[in-house]
């Protein structure tokens, strides 16, 4: 069985122009969306959609997803599909909390990373050494990690003061900080609800308010990953193992070594994400704390086309919708329906310009339905808000999956000396 099933790109070679949107265009699109959002906010009065608090919460919720996604990125760039991220995260939450409540949060973070690495070593042994199907091995790790964390909790947390079989004792906080002056000023600006200015202030303000040091580290890991993977010899070798391991081998690269390293680093990221959950997001380990974030991280990575920047965007999207959900989502999401409807109008116009009339009509129809829905209701069902991030991911993937490009040898078995 080959595990090359994740988002198998159907269009192998999209024309060069299609593949990349140039930077100015991208900036223009972002600016456009921002302006539109601002307009929608003014129309609907749903100030929550760009408030500092919303953005700050979104960031906090995005961090564990982004870390899991980075974990996925490292493994898959070296050709190993890692669906065991969830399990490695679970190990991260447990180990992080276990060390954290005894020796302080920083030690906890180190142990969380270690815990994730432990799960990753298993995954590497199975997939790299034994060539077990990557998804199968990942599923096994998820089961095993769950059992391990529960079993260990019985021995450690149950007797500890303030803990139980499902919960660790509280861990000291890492503390949070604001950027002096800037955060307050941006928040004030955001409170004014001015057109565009307040929205940008909210967006930037959310990124500098109420930060945990671990959040800063996590955010920094995105460019760091990019730099290491794309700008260093180590990264080049690692990526070559995911693109064409036989070629790498023919140039003297020890493919096994790099795959092992990549998977272990991947586990470390997942473990860090887990530690973030148990140390920063809440200050205890809880049974079931990861709640599928490992899988979501994987989705964010695919969403981001196996690139750190795209992945961060995907994680941000999940974080944002999740935060909408927790912060009075029903009215905010209602406002976003209007935004979506307007965006679809633009989409339809673009399609008409491209002379693709049938899709244009369909898009316009959907847009009309959205407008009607917006006008006809005051809020959306709570359940829709909960489902929003998943629906958005599905939609985005179905529009872009064909442009996605996974590493060529991702998920494929490799054995030294067996290349043709």
């Amino acid at each position: 069985m080959s595990a090359q099933t994740i988002a198998k790109p159907q269009a192998q070679q999209p024309g060069k122009g299609k593949r990349r949107i140039s930077l100015p265009v991208l900036l223009l699109i972002i600016a456009g969306v921002l302006v539109l959002t601002s307009v929608v906010r003014l129309i609907t009065g749903a100030d929550g959609i760009t408030s500092t608090g919303q953005m700050s919460t979104a960031l906090r919720l995005a961090v564990p997803i982004g870390l899991a996604g980075l974990g996925g990125l490292w493994a898959e760039r070296a050709g190993v599909v890692n669906i065991g991220l969830e399990g490695m995260m679970i190990l991260g939450t447990w180990f992080g909390a276990w060390a954290g409540y005894q020796w302080g949060p920083w030690v906890g973070i180190a142990f969380g990373i270690l815990g994730g690495c432990l799960g990753a070593v298993l995954h590497a042994i199975a997939t790299v050494t034994f060539n077990v199907n990557h998804i199968v091995s990942g599923v096994a790790i998820n089961i095993l990690a769950l059992g391990t964390a529960r079993y260990l909790s019985k021995f450690t947390f149950e007797e500890a003061p303030g803990g139980s079989s499902k919960q660790s004792p509280p861990i000291d906080s890492l503390g949070t900080f604001d950027i002096p002056g800037l955060s307050g000023w941006l928040d004030t600006l955001n409170q004014k609800h001015w057109f565009l200015v307040s929205d940008i202030a909210g967006l930037v303000g959310g990124l500098v308010t109420d930060l945990s040091p671990l959040t800063v580290i996590a955010v920094a890991l995105v460019p760091a990953s990019w730099w290491i993977l794309w700008r260093t010899a180590f990264g080049l070798r690692l990526r070559s193992c995911g693109e064409n391991p036989v070629a790498a081998e023919s140039l003297g690269v020890n493919v096994y070594k790099y795959k092992y390293l990549a998977v272990i680093i991947s586990g470390g990221f997942a473990g860090l994400g887990g530690a973030f959950l148990s140390i920063v997001a809440s200050n205890v380990y809880l049974d079931g704390q990861t709640a599928g974030r490992g899988y979501i991280g994987l989705a964010a990575m695919i969403f981001g086309n196996w690139m750190p920047g795209g992945l961060a965007l995907g994680a941000g999207l999940f974080g944002y919708t999740d935060s909408l959900n927790l912060r009075g989502g029903t009215t905010n999401v209602h406002a976003l329906i209007l935004l979506l409807a307007i965006l679809l109008v633009f989409g339809a116009a673009y399609l008409v310009w491209k002379k693709r009339y049938v899709p244009a009509v369909i898009t316009a129809l959907i847009s009309a339905v959205m407008f009607f829905w917006y006008a006809d209701t005051d809020e959306v069902p709570r359940q829709l808000v909960t489902a929003a991030p998943y629906i958005v991911t599905l939609l985005v993937l179905s529009f872009s999956a064909q442009r996605l490009r996974m590493p060529k040898a991702d998920g494929m078995p490799y054995r030294r000396g067996q290349g043709k």
Partner: protein, 325 residues
């Protein structure tokens, strides 16, 4: 019965004590389920019982629950209490097989049997008082409600709270927020979700937030403390909880639900040979629900206490009917 064919070979010992069977995720929630454990501990201490408490597996069905209760009953535990409405079908089935054992089920009143005590609470009444408190405390005229999971049981808390606010002060907005759709997603066990939700409310000017969210409520209280607003706790007196000692000055009061007392009372009634049966409703009148007054700020606020007394009296004499949804 054919004892050889059954896992629960009946045991000799009479008066082993009581048995609690939790629902998934129950034990260790520092709130509702742990209150049941506290009741059990009290009974143990007082009657010299060796009670037991059992946890279930993930994804089990009613049959597993029934088997668990049966096993407990056969081992000689009496009463056997299913903690949570999910136990209702199982209790109904097993109670028929063991007429001499008293069964209890918490939060359900569907079972009509001679040896079953349906231990229910009028959470809406306590929540009504919490609403009165919130309405009289808010300065911004925005108050909040955070529910753990979007289920009927929690809707009762919300309904009572809202009504209490509305009846007390016109023009106060109640923001309400549920954390998850299902308990599996961790609505009762995610302090971080509670914290984020509370911060959202605080950003929209809420200055009193009532949390009926199990463990997640800790996050709400934490956020309240961080933003110097009031939180209202739930189930047990959260002002006195060790885990929350850091934030206790922000806990105005807690809407009590005396599960511990209910469990203890049932055990005592069995011990005394007059087992409770039928619906055992713990309400305001019986003291089974109410507000905690350990926070001096709350206790010493005369106007507030006055209003609460009035509301309490109204509920007791039936002039105030509190909605449940």
């Amino acid at each position: 019965g054919s004892s050889s064919s059954s896992s629960s070979s009946s045991s000799d010992s009479k008066g082993k004590g009581l048995a609690l069977a939790y629902d998934v995720g129950g034990k260790g929630d520092q709130s509702f389920n742990d209150a049941a454990t506290a009741g059990m501990d009290k009974a143990d201490a007082e009657f010299g019982y060796k009670s037991t408490a059992v946890e279930p597996q993930d994804g089990e069905s009613d049959a597993d629950k029934a088997q668990r209760l049966e096993q407990l009953a056969k081992q000689g535990y009496n009463p056997v209490i299913g903690v949570g409405y999910a136990y209702a079908p199982a209790v109904k089935e097993v109670a028929a097989k063991f007429p001499k054992v008293t069964f209890g089920v918490v939060d359900d009143e569907q079972i009509k049997a001679d040896n079953v005590a349906d231990m229910v609470f009028t959470e809406e009444q306590g929540s009504y008082l919490a609403g009165v408190t919130a309405a009289l405390t808010t300065k911004t005229n925005v108050v909040g409600f955070v529910g753990g999971v979007d289920i009927p049981l929690i809707h009762k808390f919300e309904a009572g709270y809202k009504q209490g606010v509305e009846d007390t002060k016109k023009g106060v907005t109640v923001k309400s927020q549920y954390l998850t759709e299902t308990a599996q997603e961790g609505g009762f066990a995610s302090p971080d979700k509670g914290e984020n939700a509370a911060e959202g409310m605080i950003d929209s000017k809420a200055d009193v937030i009532y949390a009926a969210a199990g463990l997640s409520g800790q996050g709400v209280i934490k956020a309240a403390a961080a933003n110097k607003i009031w939180a209202i706790g739930v189930d047990s007196d959260q002002y006195k909880q060790d885990a929350l000692a850091k934030y206790k000055d922000s806990i105005l009061t807690s809407a009590l639900k005396d599960v511990a007392g209910a469990v203890y009372n049932l055990a005592k009634s069995v011990k005394d040979g007059k087992p409770e049966t039928g619906v055992v409703r713990a309400d305001l009148a019986s003291g089974g629900v109410g507000l905690a007054d350990s926070n001096p700020v709350f206790k010493d606020n005369a106007t507030l206490q006055e209003a609460l007394k009035k509301a309490e009296a109204g509920i007791k004499d039936g002039s105030i009917k509190v909605k449940t949804s």
